[in-house]
Each structure stands twice: as C-alpha cells, then as structure tokens.
Symmetry: C2
C-alpha cells in the first residue's frame, strides 16, 4: 500500500491507494484507542497517553520517564540487516524517543522472543548489538527475560529521570513557531528501496543510504541540548516519517504548518534522479528515520541553533506553525496539502 | 520432556528424561549466561543480574525497581484460557516478582505483539484483562505500543520504588533459617493436566484446580507485609516450580535445604489419587504458580507469621536451610535429593 503511494508522483491530487484491512491499517491509532477505552487513566498523569514516552511523578516535580518499544523481525528488520544491527536498532528506537523529549535515558530492560532454532552464536551477536547500542548512549542494560517465540522479537523498556518543566511534549506548538529538523530526510526511504526493491544507487551515495537504514543514530545530544535551551515548544521523533510527525504535533498542539523547505538529503536527490522517483516524496513519506521534528519559539531561535551546534548537530528551518489547523507544503507559490501518511513497515513491500 | 518426568514416580533414583536441544532446554540459564557475557555491568548494581527484579539507584538508598516479563501465547497461554485471562495473567506474572521482593509496583507499560487477524472485540478483551489485572494490585498502565507479530505477545514492564534495605533478595538465606511458603502447591500442575492432557478431576476439586491456572493471584500483600516484618532473609516467587525456586535460593545464598513437609494442596491429593499420580511430584515440579518461597530468620518466625496473617494469608513451614549445599527431601527418615527441575512451559505437553 505504502509502496504504491510512494510511486505516485508528489502533488498528485488523490492518492488512490487501497488500504488493506490488516491490524496496522486499522490502524495502530484505532487499535490504541480501543485499548485506551478500557484502561483506567492514572489521576494527574504528567504526560498524556499518546506522547512518545510515559511518566510517573516521584519527588515534587521530578518524573520517572518510561518508554517501551518492540522490534519485530518480520516488520522491523529488513533484508540485509544483521542480527547485531537489529539489536542495536532496537536500542536506538527507544533512545530516540527519549531524545525527542529531551530526557537522558539511564537504563533498560530487554525482553527477547527467540525462535527455537536460534544458535548460541546468533544470541551472542544479539547481545553484542544490544550492548553497543546501549553504551553508545550511556545506557546500561539491567536485566530482562528470554522467551521462545515464532518471531524474532526484542522488546526494550527504557527509563530516565526528568524535571517536569524540561520535557519537550508534542503539545506545546504555537502559531508562528519555527518548524525545524535535525537533518535532511529521505535516506532511509531510499536505502530501503535499495535493500528491498532492487533500486539502484551510484557508488558515491549507496553506502550513505544503506548506513541510514542499517546503523540509525538517535539525536540524543541534540535533544538534551535543545531541552536545556528552553527554546523548544513541541517535539517528536520522525520514526513514522516527516509528514506523519508534523501531523502528530499539529494534532497534539492544535496548530497547523506551512512547510516551505522540505529538507531533502543530497544523496536522496541523486538516488531519485537515477531511479525516476520524487525526492520530496521520499523525504516526506519515509520512516524509520530517527531525526527530531521540532517547533521553536521564534524569539529563541538563535539559542536553539547554538545549542544544537554545540552538541555537534545542525538545525534546519523547514517552515512555520499556523493557527489554521492544516499541514501544507508551499512550493513555488503553490500550496498543497501534506497528508497524514505514515510509515507502513516492511510487510507491504 | 517435563511431561515424562512428571509421570515418573517420585523417589525413583534416576529420572531418565531426554532433553531436547531447543532454546529452552539449552536452557534459559545458558542462554542468559551467553547474553550477560556481552553486556557491560553497571558499576555498583544494587541487585545483581539474575534476581527477580532489577534496580537503579536514585536518591541515597532509594531504588527504582524494574521488571520485564513477556507472555507468549503458544507457551504461556494454555488451551481453555481466554484472552482476557491471558492479559490479566501477564500482569500478575510481573506483580508476583515485585511481591517476592517486597516492593509495591506502581505502574506499567505494555508492549503488544498481535497477529494480523485479531479483531477489535479481542483487542478490547485484552485491554480489559490488562486493566483488571493492574487495578487488582493498584498498578496503573501508563502507556505502551502495539505491533504486528505472528505470535500473540504481551510484554509488560513494571516499576516501583523501594528502600535498598527493604528488598528481599534471593541471596540472604543462612543455615538454620526456616523455609516457608504462602500456600499449598500442585494446583496448577493438576489444572494443566486437566486442560492439556485430559486428566479427570472430581467435581469438588475441578474448579479449584482450573482456577489456579486461569486466574492466578500474586501474593503482593503478603510480600509487602513480610518485607516490613524484617524477618525474611531470602525470597523468590514460585513461577518456575517449588523445586526450582528452592534451588535458586540455595545457589544465590550458598546454602542447602532439608524439606520435611512438602506443602501439597488437599485438592491435589484427591486429583492425584483419582489419576494414579504422585501428589508430591505435582507439588514439587509444577510451575506457573505464583506463591512466595522464603527463608526466614528463625528468631523472627512469629513476626513473619503474624505479618502474613494480618495481610490475609498463611505462612507454611516446609523445612530449614543447611550449610550443606544440597536440596533434600526428608520423608519418613529417608533423605532424597530434590532435583533442580523447573517448569518447562506448555510446548512440551
């Protein structure tokens, strides 16, 4: 389904993509709504259901911040990714959500579901990937459990501590805030097309595009620096794609966006040219990218920019928030809707 | 394999059970050892790898206590258990580990792996089971994620806060400590034999045996009261069976045990008689039972007994700890070894 959408040219008025009625199509949002209907909400929950992390108040304004995210082999591990890389990615996925909230993750638990025929060597590869991923971000793995399952599954739960005021939620964006991201987009879309669909890439960009898929990085330093700057009004990570992430902030904050500078990676422009694809489409409707998508108080833009620079990163302006609650792309004076199309995982490919 | 073992009569000198080389047989211990070899251990970890929960030091002697446990449909959900019951059980499994450490769990995250063909109604049943299980023990579910998987999977991570001194670890048992448990054993072994192997039970015991499997309870009140009593030297929950749990404490504490009073439930005696089974075997080598197995300072026995009574439970003396590092059953003056045989999940049945 997503694959078909991706092949449509950007700016085509209607995306006639058939939606299969699988669990994911239902989709995850409706599945979660069904579940939440039954749960008792904790009184005075510091972070509402649906943000990237959860929290529990501990001492005064101090919060215990928690996150769980499950990597499932058949949907999250593309052909060409080693077990070592998959295990490392499972950690990065969770760290990225902490990065987006401006919270330092401290430790993690790992619950493994393993096929019966897995070997000791493969297990060691998984353990090494978990270790490397965790230590890359200063996280310790404290424990976990192992289980036999049909799928290869790594369920990680991670935690950290934060002051309530330092958290960057999805819900604080205001009209006229600057919209910014921490890198150029589209590399994972392109990389996955190489790995899964046999698309071609020239030698000079191929390794960059594959690296984006196989060795993703979480923007933890940038997230922590941005939180400290006090300039961020809303934040999310882009794991479900740039377009989807913008819509999530828009919905949680009650704003809209005009995006006038889609941040397309130069490698993606080259890849798209070679394969007759639309680079803007690759950048907007990708996913499995772990950049930060942020709204920033315009009066504090230079503080934000400086903070990210000191953390070793870049902050790229891509548009601004609006009172009108829609998400538009403005391109050569023409305004088109950016649809809330998210990442649909590998199973559609 | 386990099934065959169960059918051997107790006190038979050698249990000639063939061990299949599956992941579990390897077994979980060696799998975990392989993984731990690769992980970096956090300096001054307050609870070592391998205990029932993990912990992270926060303020002074205060610890964040964490646990993750995954329920996998094909191994943890026997025929006859509803999705509602399975979801509730997934919560109880985690609460039970907190109970065994004397820590009140506060909140949980839930990561679901769901087959593609699951319906909305089934999802609501799962959510309701999670809610009921959590609220039964005063836990709130704060968040989670959903994923498509081949298996039906509920991975729960739970956390609480505890003073370091109040934790009941596996490692504090001393020779002459009293060994005690919080109920009579064997009901789940018998219940599973009814559900999975067509064994018979008389009407008066059938519902009790099935209830033990389908609606397990965690001994949270008892665990918290015991922790407060200061009488407990070591503790574990009996989810892998009584024999296995005794061996775990023995190993972690560097002691042995003489068990002279195997706590067999009266319903299990009746069930065993009807089916020509050994009730002691059912009680020792069962599993999926969520009782507490404890060692208690003999000078504080009455305090422990009183604490559990006030919490609405019972404490049953079953033997004592010894300097000799072996686990024996003493029966009519005869001493036989209790083997470290643990629960082998449903897949062997």
């Amino acid at each position: 389904m997503f694959k078909n959408c991706l092949r449509l040219r950007y700016f085509q008025q209607e995306q006639r993509c058939e939606i299969l009625q699988t669990l994911r199509d239902l989709g995850e949002r409706r599945v979660i709504a069904l579940i939440l209907k039954h749960l008792d909400e904790m009184p005075q929950m510091p972070i509402p259901f649906g943000d990237d992390v959860s929290a529990y108040p501990v001492n005064g304004d101090e919060l215990f911040v928690l996150k769980t995210d499950m990597l499932v082999g058949k949907t999250d591990v593309p052909k060409g990714m080693s077990l070592w890389q998959a295990a490392r990615k499972a950690v990065v996925m969770n760290v990225s959500d902490f990065a987006a909230k401006g919270v330092k993750p401290l430790a993690a638990l790992v619950s493994l579901g393993l096929p019966n025929n897995i070997t000791g060597k493969e297990l060691e590869e998984i353990a090494e990937g978990l270790k490397v991923g965790a230590r890359e971000y200063g996280v310790y793995i404290l424990g976990g459990d192992t289980n036999e399952a049909s799928d290869f599954i790594i369920s990680i739960s991670m935690f950290g501590v934060a002051k309530k005021d330092a958290l960057m939620l999805r819900s604080g964006a205001k009209p006229n805030d600057v919209v910014a991201v921490t890198d150029f987009f589209g590399k994972t879309s392109a990389g996955l097309k190489i790995l899964l669909e046999g698309f071609k890439a020239s030698e000079d960009v191929r390794s960059v595009l594959l690296e984006a898929v196989l060795m993703p990085k979480a923007r933890l330093n940038e997230g922590l620096a941005l939180s400290a700057s006090g300039a961020v009004t809303a934040a999310i990570d882009s794991s479900d794609g740039l377009a989807w992430s913008l819509h999530e902030i828009a919905k949680a904050s009650g704003v809209g966006f005009i995006i006038d500078n889609v941040p397309v990676a130069s490698e993606v422009v080259k890849f798209a040219e070679l394969n007759g694809l639309d680079p803007v489409e690759l950048a907007l409707y990708g996913g499995e990218e772990y950049e930060l998508v942020l709204t920033i108080n315009p009066n504090l833009w230079s503080e934000a920019e400086k903070a990210v620079k000191q953390a070793g990163g870049t902050l790229i302006k891509i548009g601004k928030a609006t009172a009108q609650k829609r998400v538009f792309l403005e391109f050569k004076g023409e305004k088109r809707v950016i649809k809330p199309v998210g990442w649909e995982h590998f199973r559609r490919r």
